[in-house]
């Protein structure tokens, strides 16, 4: 192995160790009972037990935060995928100024920092006298997720043979059948990656949720952690929760990657 290669490998692995140290730290600390992060009072699985049996003091709040996070992410990314796919088909068929205009608007939520998106939507809901809660959070999440769906579906449209849709009509499919049987399958990869992107962005969002959740006590995981940390001292059960979430993601991503690299090898 050349010196260059050794150096390169070392660089990458040091970076990875630094990147993962907080996560590993959380995972390690999930196996002790200590109240505050960083203390070690001996190995114990009690935090896992109390996470699942709801033995801690604000277990309901934590579990409902997890539930809200998943529900909001699911609804927002499903709606964003549908809205974004329809929009992408429309944008693809637009020309000139109109196309540029809508693509420009589509870029704004992606460039805007979360705080601007959050504050501006907060002002909108205040202005329209919409009481804030689930609905406003979901609408806000749809706002910043849909552009990513649009951008993931558009390339699939340009890769698609333009005659494929017409061929379906020609063979007797109604426009709706042609859409369902030919267009959607062709766009599916873009829709799926748009959906996954939306889902993860929604899961991870803090700022936008923070400004649009109102005062009804709606918490997602992010806002729960934020309030918890501001009160001083994190709920210990967050540690096993985060560890589990991380392991699930690790498993899913490794699975997807191994499968896709197998697929590319097979197609070669």
């Amino acid at each position: 192995m050349s010196a260059k290669k050794i150096f390169a490998k070392a660089y990458i692995w040091i970076l990875l160790i630094v990147l993962y140290s907080p996560i590993v730290f959380i995972a390690v600390c999930s196996f002790t009972e200590a109240k505050s992060l960083g203390n070690w009072t001996g190995f114990s699985l009690n935090l896992y037990k109390s996470l699942f049996t709801g033995g801690m003091q604000n277990s309901n709040a934590l579990l409902s935060a997890v539930y809200n996070t998943l529900l909001i992410a699911l609804i927002a990314s499903i709606v964003a995928t549908i809205l974004g796919t329809i929009a992408a088909i429309g944008i693809f068929n637009l020309k000139g100024r109109k196309k540029q205009a809508i693509q420009f608007l589509n870029n704004i939520p992606m460039i805007n920092p979360d705080i601007i998106t959050g504050v501006s939507l907060f002002l909108l809901f205040v202005f329209l006298h919409i009481s804030q809660g689930y609905l406003t959070v979901i609408l806000a999440h749809i706002t910043f997720c849909t552009p990513y769906v649009v951008l993931n579906v558009l390339p699939k449209l340009s890769q698609m043979n333009p005659n494929v849709y017409e061929a379906a009509l020609d063979l007797g499919a109604t426009p709706f059948q042609a859409l369902r049987k030919v267009m959607i399958p062709a766009l599916r990869p873009g829709m799926i990656s748009g959906f996954i992107l939306s889902f993860t962005m929604s899961l991870d969002d803090f700022a936008v949720t923070f400004f649009t959740r109102g005062t009804i006590g709606l918490d997602t995981l992010s806002t729960f952690i934020y309030t918890d940390a501001r009160k001083g001292g994190l709920t210990p059960e967050l540690r096993p929760l985060m560890t589990i979430i991380f392991l699930i993601i690790l498993a899913v991503l490794l699975f997807i990657n191994i499968r896709s690299s197998k697929n590319t090898q097979e197609s070669k």
Partner: protein, 257 residues
């Protein structure tokens, strides 16, 4: 097929309602007092207030430093990852992106706790380190993407024409990878300049950034002043985007998988 273009209409209405209108409202609220009358006082208040101005300057400074740090650390990483002779595994790339899937606040809290345990006082140093840690993947991925798709024959052509390895890099690879760096800057600078929770955690509330003041004003029902501060940030964003000059949205879109 021309009727298909009308499919963009629902989304267009959605964008007007949830993107354009809210931004217009930021402008409107910025120039109103609490009772809804037109005023410049929110803007002048910002420029008269030393604390706000210094926070603003500090936020820009931190954002620039963080972005520079991310490029310095991220570019070599992206370069190594994209170089087939140094790294062949796609999994390594995924490993760099994966921390993004773990709740950012949780990761930040753990980082701060690690600093505490190591006996490092929370302050600007830890803030920069922590933010760099949070945003590094956003810098690595777009650069990696561009480098990975780059036609290898450019570098070979340069070598063939007599360029030394370092010259190949400075005269061909680096200039050609600038679009990736540009979209990395966009993806790191914008969020850092506006960050709020992360900076509070990493400095134990010692250092306030611009995002925090916006949040405090909005939360304390000082909507008009909060809107004015947001407007100032919007202008910074507009300037950065225009300076960038290019549409990097597509490189950004591929950011996840």
């Amino acid at each position: 097929m021309s009727k298909r273009s009308s499919w963009a209409l629902p989304y267009f209405i959605f964008l007007v309602l949830f993107v354009v209108m809210p931004l217009v409202l930021i402008v409107v609220y910025s120039f109103q007092d609490a009772s809804g009358h037109f005023t410049f006082s929110n803007i002048t208040k910002f420029f008269m207030d030393k604390d706000s101005l210094s926070t603003f300057a500090l936020s820009i400074e931190v954002a620039i430093e963080n972005t520079a740090l991310c490029i310095l650390i991220g570019y070599p990483a992206a370069y190594i990852l994209a170089d087939k002779s140094l790294n062949r595994s796609a999994v390594t790339v995924v490993l760099f992106i994966m921390p993004m899937w773990v709740n950012a606040l949780m990761r930040t809290l753990a980082t701060a706790e690690l600093f505490n345990m190591a006996g490092i006082t929370l302050g600007k140093g830890t803030l920069l380190f922590g933010m760099c840690y949070d945003y590094l993947p956003f810098m690595i991925y777009p650069i990696y993407n561009v480098l990975n798709k780059m036609d290898k024959s450019y570098a070979e052509a340069a070598e063939d024409l007599g360029a030394k390895p370092l010259e190949v890099f400075t005269k061909v690879t680096l200039p050609l990878s600038m679009p990736g760096v540009a979209s990395g800057i966009l993806m790191v600078f914008m969020p850092t300049v506006s960050t709020f929770a992360i900076s509070e955690f990493l400095t134990n509330n010692k250092i306030k950034l611009f995002g925090t003041i916006i949040q405090e004003n909005i939360n304390n029902s000082m909507w008009n002043y909060g809107a004015a501060l947001s407007l100032i940030m919007l202008i910074i964003i507009a300037i950065t985007t225009v300076l960038q000059g290019k549409d990097n949205s597509e490189a950004a879109a591929g950011g996840a998988i």
